[in-house]
C-alpha cells in the first residue's frame, strides 16, 4: 500500500468508526426528548423509563463518540496538514462554531444526567433540548466542511494562492444546507431505527402482552413514527442532494450512476456493476429517461457522462454500489413503518408476527449501513480531490512515511473500544432490567437518574 492509501484508509477507518457513535449521538437525544415530552403529556411513567434507559445508553456511547471525535478532529491535522492549512485559512468558521456547540452539549449533558434530581423539570427539558441542539449543530457544522470540499466558495484561487478570502461566503457555500440537512435528517432516522431494533428484539424475547412486552411496544411505535417521518424527509432531501451533484459535481453523479456518455433522456441504472474496460454498466436494471428527470426535473436534461473527463480524474466506480445501497435502504426504511401501520390499522391485526419482528430488528443495523454507504460514497466520490477542482488529496497528505504501524494501532484501539462498548451496554442493561426501572419509577421519591446500579 502506498503511504497515501494508508493515510486514506486510516482516516477512513476513523471516520467509519466514529460516524456510528456520532450519528446515534445526534439521533438518540431527539428520541429521549420525545419520550420526555410524551411523559409530560401523558404522565405515563414508561416514557420516563425509556428516557432514562436511552440516556444511559447515550452516555455510554458518548464514552466512545467523544474520544473518537477528538481523534477525527486532530487526525485531520496530522494526516492532511495541507488540507487543514487551507481550511484554517479559508473555512475556519464551522470548526470554530462547532466547538461552542460541543461545549453546550457537554455542559448540559452532564447537567441532565448528574443534576437531574436537583433541577426543576422544565430545566431538565431545557437541558435536554440544549443537548439535542448541541449534538445537531455539531453534526451540521462538521458536515459543512464536507459541503465546502464539494462546492468550495468564498475565495479566488490563482497560482496556488487563496485570494479575496471571505470566510462567511465559504461558510454558506452552495451545498451547505442540502448536505448538512441530509446528514441531520438521516441521523434522526438512525437514532429511531436503532431504538426500533432493540424494542422489537425485546418484544420477541418477552411474553406477548407482558409488562415488558408492552413497554417495548410503546418504544417501537414511537420509534417507527419518528423513523418513518425522518426517512421520508431524508429521501426528499436526498433527491435535492442528487440535483446538487448534477449541478456542481457532475462526474460524481456520473460515477454514482455508471453513466459514460453525456446525454439527454439518460437512464437510471439500479444495481449492477460499472465496468471500466468496456465503459458500461453490467447487470443493472435501467429505467429509461429517469436519471435526466431526477437530475433536472425534465426528460431532456443533459446529464454529463464520465467520458467528458480524463480517466485520472474519475471517482472510483464502486461508488455506484454504495449509492444504490444507501438509496435502497433509505427507501426500505420509509416503507417499513408504513407496512407495520397498515398491518395494524388496515388489517386490524393486534399482534406482531415473529417474522415481522425479525424484519424490524434488522432496521437499526441497516440504517447504520446506509449512512456508512452514504459517507463512503460522498467522500470517495470526491476523489481524487480533497477540495473539488482546487486541491488534490495527494497534495494535502502528510509527508511522513511508514504509516503502517499507526494504522494497525488505531485499528486495534477501535476494536478494543468496539468490543468493550457492546459488552458494557449488554452488561448494564442485563443487570438493570426494564422491570427494575419500571418498579423504581412507580415508587415515588426514589431517584431514577443518578442511580447507577
Amino acid at each position: 500500500m502506498s503511504d497515501l492509501l494508508i493515510a486514506r484508509s486510516l482516516f477512513g477507518t476513523t471516520m467509519a468508526f466514529h460516524i456510528i457513535f456520532a450519528t446515534i449521538g445526534v439521533g438518540l437525544p431527539l428520541m429521549i426528548l420525545v419520550a420526555e415530552l410524551l411523559y409530560q403529556k401523558t404522565k405515563d411513567q414508561d416514557y420516563v423509563v425509556m428516557a432514562k434507559r436511552w440516556t444511559k445508553a447515550f452516555a455510554v456511547l458518548l464514552g466512545v463518540g467523544i474520544p473518537t471525535g477528538t481523534i477525527a478532529g486532530v487526525q485531520l491535522s496530522l494526516l492532511w496538514p495541507g488540507f487543514m492549512e487551507v481550511i484554517g485559512r479559508v473555512m475556519p468558521l464551522p470548526f470554530q462554531i462547532e466547538i461552542y456547540a460541543f461545549f453546550i452539549e457537554a455542559l448540559f449533558m452532564s447537567i441532565y444526567v448528574y443534576a437531574a434530581e436537583r433541577i426543576a423539570p422544565w430545566m431538565r427539558i431545557a437541558s435536554l433540548v440544549l443537548v439535542a441542539i448541541g449534538a445537531l449543530s455539531s453534526a451540521v457544522l462538521i458536515t459543512n466542511v464536507h459541503a465546502f470540499q464539494g462546492t468550495p466558495a468564498g475565495f479566488r484561487y490563482e497560482d496556488g494562492k487563496f485570494l479575496d478570502i471571505d470566510p462567511w461566503a465559504a461558510f454558506f457555500n452552495p451545498s451547505f444546507f442540502v448536505t448538512a440537512g441530509h446528514v441531520a435528517l438521516s441521523a434522526y432516522v438512525v437514532g429511531a431505527f436503532v431504538v426500533a431494533s432493540v424494542a422489537s428484539f425485546k418484544m420477541m424475547k418477552n411474553k406477548i402482552g407482558s409488562r415488558v412486552y408492552l413497554f417495548h411496544q410503546k418504544a417501537l411505535v414511537l420509534s417507527l413514527v419518528v423513523g418513518g417521518i425522518f426517512a421520508f424527509l431524508t429521501a426528499l432531501n436526498g433527491h435535492e442532494s442528487a440535483q446538487y451533484l448534477h449541478k456542481y459535481q457532475p462526474e460524481k453523479l456520473a460515477a454514482a450512476e455508471g453513466l459514460f456518455e453525456t446525454q439527454s433522456h439518460a437512464p437510471l441504472a439500479i444495481g449492477g456493476f460499472t465496468d471500466k474496460e468496456t465503459k458500461e454498466i453490467k447487470g443493472a436494471i435501467e429505467i429509461p429517461w429517469a436519471l435526466s428527470f431526477l437530475a433536472g426535473n425534465s426528460f431532456d436534461t443533459v446529464v454529463v457522462g464520465l467520458n467528458d473527463y480524463p480517466e485520472e480524474l474519475w471517482p472510483p466506480l464502486f461508488i455506484h454500489t454504495l449509492f444504490n445501497g444507501m438509496v435502497f435502504i433509505g427507501s426500505a426504511l420509509i416503507m417499513v413503518p408504513l407496512l407495520v401501520f397498515a398491518w395494524k390499522k388496515l388489517f386490524k391485526k393486534t399482534q406482531y408476527p415473529k417474522l415481522m419482528l425479525w424484519g424490524l430488528v434488522t432496521t437499526g443495523p441497516l440504517a447504520v449501513i446506509a449512512i456508512e454507504c452514504g459517507w463512503i460514497f460522498a467522500c470517495s466520490g470526491r476523489q481524487p480531490w480533497v477540495i473539488y477542482h482546487i486541491l488534490s488529496t495527494a497534495e494535502s497528505a502528510t509527508t511522513a512515511t511508514n504509516l503502517g504501524a499507526l494504522f494497525v494501532s488505531f485499528i486495534i484501539v477501535y476494536m478494543i473500544l468496539g468490543f468493550s462498548v457492546v459488552f458494557v451496554l449488554l452488561y448494564f442493561f442485563r443487570k438493570n432490567t426494564e422491570l427494575d426501572d419500571i418498579e423504581r419509577a412507580e415508587k415515588k421519591g426514589t431517584p431514577l437518574f443518578s442511580s447507577n446500579s
Binding site: A59, V60, L62, G63, V64, I66, P67, T68, G69, T70, I71, G73, V74, Q75, S77, L78, L79, W80, P81, M84, E85, V86, I87, G88, R89, V90, P92, L93, F95, Q96, I97, I99, Y100, F103, I104, A106, L107, F108, S110, I111, Y114, A115, R118, I119, I165, D166, P167, W168, T398, T399, A400, S409, F410, V413, S420, V421, V424, Y427, F428, N452
Partner: protein, 345 residues
C-alpha cells in the same frame, strides 16, 4: 503585528486553561485509581464525583485548542501536524482508551477496578506526551530539509530537557489535582479524603518545584535562546516562586475559620493557579515570536486577516453565550452542597 499578537494570546489562553483543567482531570483519574482499595477514606469517590460531570467539558478544550491552532496559524498547523504525527497519534490513542474506560468503569461496576486501572494509567502518561509539544517547538529536534520537515525522535528522546518537561508535567498533574481534590473533599465534608489529598499535596509541591528548576537548568544547556529570554523576566519568575510559599501556607497553616483543622485548600488552589499563570506567561513571552523555532513565527504563520476577524467575532459571541452555561455548571457541580455531600455513590 497587533492581530497576530492577539491571536497568539488567545491561543496561549486556551493552552493555559486546558493545561490547568487537564491536570485536574488526568490527576483525578490517577488518584481515583490509587485509592480504589482504600474505600474508607472516600478518596476515590471524591475523585469520581469531580470527574464524572467534568471530563467531557475538559476534553472539549483540547479540541478547541487544536482548532484554534489551525484557524489562527494555518501554516504553523501544517508543520505542527507533520512533525507531531507520532506523538499526536500516541496521545489520541491513549486519550481514547482513557475516556472510554473512564465512562465504562462507572457503568460496569463489577469490573470497576480493571477499568479504572486502564484509564488511570493511560491518563497519567498523556500529560507527559502533551507537554512534549513545547520542547518540540523549540526547534532543535526538528529537521528542516529541502521543503520537508521531520521530527527527530531519537534526538528528542535522548534529551534531558525533554525528560525534565515530562517529569514536570506528571508531577504538576498530581500536585494540582491533589490540591483541587483537597479543596473539593473539604467542600464535600469528607475529612478523611481531605487529609489524604492534603498530604499528597505537601509531598508533590516540592517535587514539582524541583522539576521546574530542572527544566530551567536543562533549558540553559540545550536551548539557550529561550532560557536567556526567560531570565529577562527574572522578577516575575521569582514572584511565581513566591506564590509557592503561599501554597505552603495554605497547606500547613491552621485554618482560622475552622478550629482544629489544618490547611486552607481554596487558598492553595488559587495560589497555584496564579503561580502557573505567571510562569507560563514568562515562558510564552520568551517563546515569541517563534511558534516553531527558528522557521515559523507568529507573523509568518498568521491566517488571512478576514478570517481572523470572523473567527475573533465568533470567539466573543460564542463565549458570551457559553459563559452563563459555565457558571450554571459550576454552581451545580462545584458549589452545590446537595451534589458535594451526597451519601453513598
Amino acid at each position: 503585528m497587533a492581530d497576530a499578537l492577539i491571536a497568539i494570546t488567545v491561543l496561549w489562553g486556551f493552552v493555559f486553561i486546558y493545561a490547568v483543567m487537564a491536570t485536574m482531570d488526568f490527576g483525578a483519574g490517577f488518584w481515583s485509581m490509587i485509592y480504589i482499595n482504600r474505600e474508607k477514606t472516600k478518596a476515590t469517590n471524591i475523585a469520581n464525583r469531580y470527574l464524572s460531570p467534568t471530563w467531557e467539558v475538559t476534553n472539549t478544550f483540547i479540541v478547541a485548542l487544536v482548532v484554534a491552532v489551525y484557524s489562527l496559524f494555518p501554516s504553523a498547523a501544517n508543520i505542527l501536524g507533520t512533525i507531531l504525527l507520532i506523538p499526536g497519534s500516541l496521545i489520541l490513542l491513549l486519550l481514547a482508551l482513557r475516556s472510554a474506560f473512564l465512562v465504562f468503569s462507572n457503568i460496569a461496576t463489577e469490573y470497576k477496578k480493571p477499568l479504572t486501572y486502564i484509564s488511570g494509567i493511560a491518563g497519567i502518561i498523556i500529560p507527559g506526551l502533551l507537554i512534549s509539544v513545547l520542547p518540540i517547538t523549540h526547534g532543535h529536534y526538528v529537521d528542516f530539509a529541502d521543503g520537508t520537515v521531520n521530527l527527530n525522535l531519537n534526538k528528542l528522546f535522548s534529551s534531558p530537557n525533554e525528560y525534565a518537561f515530562i517529569g514536570f508535567a506528571i508531577t504538576s498533574t498530581l500536585f494540582l489535582s491533589s490540591l483541587l481534590l483537597a479543596d473539593y473533599s473539604k467542600a464535600s465534608n469528607e475529612m478523611e479524603a481531605y487529609r489524604v489529598y492534603l498530604r499528597d499535596g505537601k509531598i508533590l509541591g516540592p517535587i514539582s518545584l524541583i522539576m521546574a528548576l530542572l527544566i530551567m537548568i536543562t533549558l540553559k544547556n540545550e536551548v539557550g535562546w529561550i532560557y536567556n529570554k526567560m531570565m529577562e523576566d527574572l522578577p516575575l519568575l521569582l514572584i511565581s516562586i513566591g506564590f509557592f510559599l503561599i501554597i505552603g501556607y495554605g497547606l500547613y497553616a491552621r485554618n482560622p475559620f475552622q478550629k482544629g483543622e489544618r490547611g486552607m485548600p481554596r487558598l492553595a488552589v488559587i495560589a497555584v493557579t496564579i503561580q502557573y499563570l505567571i510562569a507560563s506567561y514568562v515562558y510564552g513571552k520568551a517563546h515569541l515570536p517563534y511558534i516553531i523555532y527558528p522557521n515559523v513565527t507568529i507573523e509568518s504563520a498568521f491566517t488571512d486577516p478576514n478570517s481572523f476577524r470572523a473567527v475573533f467575532i465568533t470567539y466573543i459571541v460564542g463565549f458570551a453565550i457559553l459563559f452563563p452555561g459555565f457558571i450554571y455548571f459550576w454552581s451545580l457541580f462545584m458549589n452545590d452542597k446537595r451534589y458535594l455531600r451526597q451519601k453513598g455513590n
